[in-house]
């Protein structure tokens, strides 16, 4: 039935799409009076040619993996969770409370505690929209958008009025105690005479993110629950026929989604900032949408798309360091990548399909 080999669809199409996005980006860069090749070299060198560059790329990727997985799981149940942003911020609150008020003896225990706490807080923030959708039919897209705003207000209130150390200038919690410091890649992979990942924020959370990918993959494609989530996502009446409760699946998949978004805070809040700041999610919730869509809601796809966006973030930063470009250029490049790999993929796929079909016809004739 296939019109072209699976590998071409999985590899060739995104590659060509990225290439087109890159060419257009190059035009924009050239229009700004810069040499695009030089810019590209800076990005690749800064993001991929040094361990510290990887340290940043993977740090960002970790955030996007979590939010991307969050959006994916909800997608499988045919819900559009735009609330990753708010869920991640509330997850950050969970991390902060857990790290500040429990005297952890060791980071490993703290990590477990914070993981549970972040997931629970994120899930909680998804629970209300979920239950309203399930029981009242309130459209999840609106309620999650609204909950992003409400989360921002809540965190703002808590940071300004409650958790801010007295006299502190910043709307942020106190720095977490040393005991909950998570090992960074530098801590983990450097030797005495060879410092790797110097100063970069990638930390052990990256492995949690990979575990999360595997867990989500197992959940969605290997468990009964995943089977039910996907079935519900494809057909609500079908789910009912099979004895799958729509309320239960709606709520559970949103809880999982919210928990995954909340987990992002382990990386950003516990791993990097080591305190809770305002707007700790920094738009990763929204990037997660693009990541999930580009990754076709498959954990492997999400992982790769998150890497791509990690690269764009870090490469963009490098570009900004050495080329003096406005940061909005990075936004434009991201936009082009999302557009071509995510929305205009058939622009590439169709001609390719025709090509393959033509060669196959020739082959059989």
């Amino acid at each position: 039935m296939d019109k072209m080999p699976a590998w071409a669809d999985a590899v060739l199409v995104p590659l060509i799409s990225i290439l087109i996005a890159a060419v257009l980006s190059a035009l924009v860069i050239a229009a700004l009076g810069m040499n695009p090749f030089e810019a590209f070299r800076l990005m690749v060198e800064g993001a991929l040619m040094k361990s510290s560059g990887w340290g940043y790329t993977l740090y960002y990727a970790t955030n996007f993996i979590f939010t991307g997985l969050a959006v994916s799981v909800a997608f499988h149940a045919k819900m559009f969770n735009i609330g990753g942003e708010g869920q991640a911020q509330i997850g950050g609150l969970g991390v902060a409370l857990c790290c500040l008020f429990i005297p952890w003896p060791h980071w490993s225990l703290a990590l477990i505690g914070a993981t549970i706490s972040a997931a629970a807080f994120g899930a909680l923030w998804a629970y209300v929209p979920a239950i309203l959708q399930a029981k009242r039919g309130s459209h999840i897209v609106i309620t999650t958008i609204m909950f992003n705003f409400i989360a921002a207000a809540l965190i703002n209130y808590i940071l300004v009025n409650i958790l801010r150390p007295s006299g502190g200038m910043e709307p942020a919690t106190a720095t977490f105690p040393e005991a909950v410091h998570l090992p960074t890649f530098q801590d983990m992979f450097s030797t005495a005479d060879n410092v790797l990942f110097r100063g970069s924020p990638a930390n052990i959370t990256f492995f949690i993110a990979i575990l999360a990918c595997i867990a989500v993959w197992l959940l969605i494609w290997r468990t009964r629950l995943g089977y039910e989530i996907r079935a519900f996502g494809h057909s609500e009446t079908g789910a009912k026929y099979a004895g799958i409760s729509p309320v239960r699946i709606t709520v559970i998949s949103m809880l999982i989604s919210g928990a995954l978004a909340g987990l992002m805070a382990i990386n950003a809040t516990m791993g990097e900032a080591e305190r809770l700041v305002l707007n700790a999610s920094e738009g990763a919730g929204f990037i997660g949408i693009a990541v999930a869509l580009m990754g076709r809601s498959h954990p492997l796809g999400v992982f790769l798309a998150a890497l791509l966006f990690g690269f764009l973030y870090q490469g963009g930063a490098e570009l900004a360091f050495w080329a003096n470009i406005p940061r909005e250029l990075i936004t434009v490049i991201q936009a082009l990548v999302i557009l071509f790999t995510g929305a205009l993929d058939n622009f590439v796929r169709w001609p390719l399909e025709r090509l393959f079909l033509a060669t196959r016809k020739k082959g059989t004739a």
């Binding site: 009964r224 494809h234 057909s235 004895g243």
Partner: protein, 537 residues
Amino acid sequence: MSDPSAIDPAIELKGISKAFGPVQANKDISIRVMPGTIHGIIGENGAGKSTLMSILYGFYKADSGEVWVNGQKKDITDSQAAISAGIGMVFQHFKLVQNFSVLENVILGAEDGAMLKPSLNKARGSLKHLAEEYELQVDPDALIENLSVGHQQRVEILKALYREADILILDEPTGVLTPAEADHLFRILEGLKREGKTIILITHKLREIMEITDTVSVMRRGEMTATVKTAETSPEELAELMVGRKVLLRVDKKPAQPKAPILEIENLRHTDSHGVERLKGISLQVRAGEVLGIAGVSGNGQSELLHVLGGMTTATGTVRVNGQEIDLTGKHSDGQSRRARGIAHVPEDRHHEGLILDYTAWENTVFGYHQAPEIQSGLFMDNAAIKTEAQAKMDRYDVRPPDPNLAAKNFSGGNQQKIVLAREIERDPDILLIGQPTRGVDIGAIEFIHKEIIRLRDAGKAILLVSVELDEILSLSDRIAVMFDGQIMGERLPDETNQTELGLLMAGVTDTGGKSAIAAVDAQLHAKEAREAAQHD
């Protein structure tokens, strides 16, 4: 072409080919349809009938070939071109806007001018006219979603007639109709034919072909294998042309050996989300080793009955399975609990209920049973085992193509139905609920499905069969209960009743108590009323 007759064919297709990617749906097809005739097209599921007609209607574009209409070559690039060539089509899956009124659907694309008002007024007038002329009554202001399928189909026909079609294509028009509705449709088609219109009719039902068509073409695997005059052929010959082997057209079964009642239903009541009571105190028994057929015009509560028994919705009353009461409202009133109690359910709507169309065939073979312990390994589902089992089931049920990794949506209707049946029957249930088992399914598959149902019966299972096909009810059931307006109007034995009497009961005419002692004349009279009553459902 060496046809000496002076008149040009209404439709002549020459060498039509069409491929969907690697699938060759139509291969070099040529066909001539003479004006003022009814021309039947038959063929197995997936033979390419719908594709060919869609090309004629400009919905798909042929890869090669020519279309001639009334002796002139036409370039049918889109449906607009087909419409102006005087072609109208009633698709198998209606192309209606569900939340539009009948009137709006009729004028869509055939408006006069930019304002709606005048078009609507004009259409209201001509609709009235058409309705009188062809017995096509529908309420012009009703919303499509509130109409029965039969009425929706009338709207489709009206759409074509409103566009002054001379050539009308109907793709499986009777698949979803009740016998009364089907009869009515054929009267309409006869009427249209008398008016000089040309009709192309796709159907799986040989009885219909024999009854109404003048000529018939047979398709197999994308090719046109034969075109014959209906008067010069027989159902058996057609079936063989179609499937490529001899087909048994009648169900071959031994008398039932019913044992103890397995399913006992008492005073079952169900009220839907709009507050309408759809089941008004149903009481029934199904015994081991028998098929209880439920006849009825669709919309009289049969679907709700299946839904309640299958655990898709709640109800009040008592239902006992093997003597034990089951939960009708509480936590254990869902489909999974029903399956645990040995109730299998082949739903009426395979697209929306019985299958997840986007799931692969193997995933669908455990749909509803996915919680079963024997297909788990630890925390996970044992996909390898499920796949192996699926392959075996597909081979046993002759599902084509026998590829468990193919998505369900890529199978034809008959094969989809086989997947559902395989799943439900192979679980070895005590009770099988089965709704519209052969809707839209080709003859070869029907034969198979009927055999399976009887095999299950003979294995001592209780079978509750809901079908709008009286033929099917009569040939499969050991007992027949007739539903009307949420109630059981009466029970009959198939040998002691006939279509007329059943039709009477289906129309809500009170149980006369007699076996089949109604005078023939009387029955005829009532049957006519029954049909009319059915039309108002």
